[in-house]
Amino acid sequence: MAERVLMKGNEAIAEAAIRAGCRHYFGYPITPQTEIAAYMAKKMPKIGGVFLQAESEIASINMVYGAAAAGVRVMTSSSSPGVSLKAEGLSYIAGSDVPALVVNVQRGGPGLGGIQPSQSDYFQATKGGGHGDYRMIVLAPASVQEMASLTIKGFNLADKYLMTSMILADGTIGQMMEPISFEDAEIETYEKPWALTGTNCEREHNVVNSLYLKPDELEVKNFERYERYKIVEENEPMWEEYMMEDAEYCVVAFGIASRVAKNAVAAARAEGIKVGLIRPITLWPFPKKALLAAAEKVKSFICVELSMGQMIEDVKLYTQCKRPVSLCNRCGGMIPSPNEVLEAIRKAQKGEC
């Protein structure tokens, strides 16, 4: 077994990115993700990579766009208000079909909000954020180990499907330390014949662009992109099921909320309540099939989120409203206690949701 080391979630992302072959990092500091930039600042110069603290979030995402167009593995990281600033760039990157990795270590919002953990950027990450028809692959780590493994996965998927992969973490997972090993990292490499690498007078010019003034051409581009998204939706959903075999009630939670929910599920089981947990690991593509299958057998769902209820809309949508869905939530940087979640499970059992 590879050696286990203690690392902060943010550092695990940075180390995993380097191991995945990322040599270009552009960012702008913001709590609670600054350790990512700090790690990159320390490491990149030693391995021939680029660490650049841009003048703003907007500048950094456009640097990512440029580097992605040149075909290199590139990333940026920020936290909620900073990701809002990057929205325009995210849309351009999607419109140009180039791969990039973007990390959002979420904090409370809206506005400048606070600096404590949150999951209230779910809509922004999964439904758009920037303008136009586009999707991002959204990965939601629930441990420091997953901060690393999903970062590597994110780079692989971005290159495979020519999309942005977003790591949607939160302040808790970013700041906490857990043991981690890097032994299983599978780094995939993809040819990038479209990249702007210089023609050497040996091939036609490549063009990376998101401007299509002829509406019929733009429509075709969008149709083609959504054909690709369909393949992602078919092949790439990831989720974890915990104690679902005989479950009569199903908690749905991702990231840090799923960690709290697991404690509550164990406590409810000890009381004899047959409850399980589905933890979406990809928020887009959402694990629709798992939720629909659960809806055939459980009596109701309890959605646990650090927001006013965002993922709950997808839970209702993809269970086709076959069963009641209740919300157990805190927001603004607050985190529900296992007891609060347990209480919500008890209520569900009594049919009070």
Binding site: L6, P32, G171, M176, M177, E178
Partner: protein, 178 residues
């Protein structure tokens, strides 16, 4: 199944996070499941700091501690804030050089250690944290004092090698405190 939840709280600068890191690292080397969660943000700059350490032989669920088995309180506000959260039968470690108050609860074990004074008297003024950790490990055979030397050697960066012996001294002072 054994899980120990340790909450360490005090002022920024007292080595709260390091004490937690030490315990987490010790657990790691002993092949336990561990998590370490710090408070972060403006309160770290001179205000109150705390960290949550969970040591377990099964995977750690929530890293957030709401009912600690062990509380280390290194200032009065921290003791007042967390004293009622400790589980019945749990342990509270109080730096009695900085905290005059006694714990009123009778359903917990309380250890008063004048750690900050002891540290000053022994020329290791910044290591009151490790004195308390030493005492905690001595009191809890399942956590065990054994192996602390290795952890200190792993955890203290080479640039600060001089601190290795001082940390060991602090741990021993805590271990031997009656």
């Amino acid at each position: 199944m054994k899980t120990t939840q340790i909450l360490i709280a005090g002022f920024g600068g007292q080595g709260i996070l390091f004490a937690g890191k030490f315990l987490a690292y010790k657990g790691l080397l002993e092949e336990q499941q561990v998590s370490w969660l710090p408070s972060y943000g403006p309160e770290m700059r001179g205000g109150t700091a705390n960290c949550n350490v969970i040591l377990s032989d099964t995977p750690v669920g929530s890293p957030i501690i709401t009912a600690p088995d062990v509380l280390i309180a290194m200032n009065l506000p921290s003791l007042q804030k967390y004293v009622d959260t400790v589980v019945p039968g749990g342990q509270i470690y109080v730096d009695s050089a900085l905290i005059d108050e006694k714990v009123a609860r009778t359903d917990v074990e309380v250890f008063y250690i004048p750690a900050t004074q002891m540290a000053k008297d022994n020329g290791i003024a910044t290591l009151a944290n490790m004195i308390i950790v030493g005492h905690l490990l001595q009191n809890n055979p399942e956590l065990s004092f054994e192996g602390t030397d290795t952890v200190v050697e792993k955890l203290v960066p080479p640039k600060k090698a001089a601190l290795v012996e001082l940390n060991k001294k602090a741990l021993t002072l805590g271990k031997e405190y009656k």
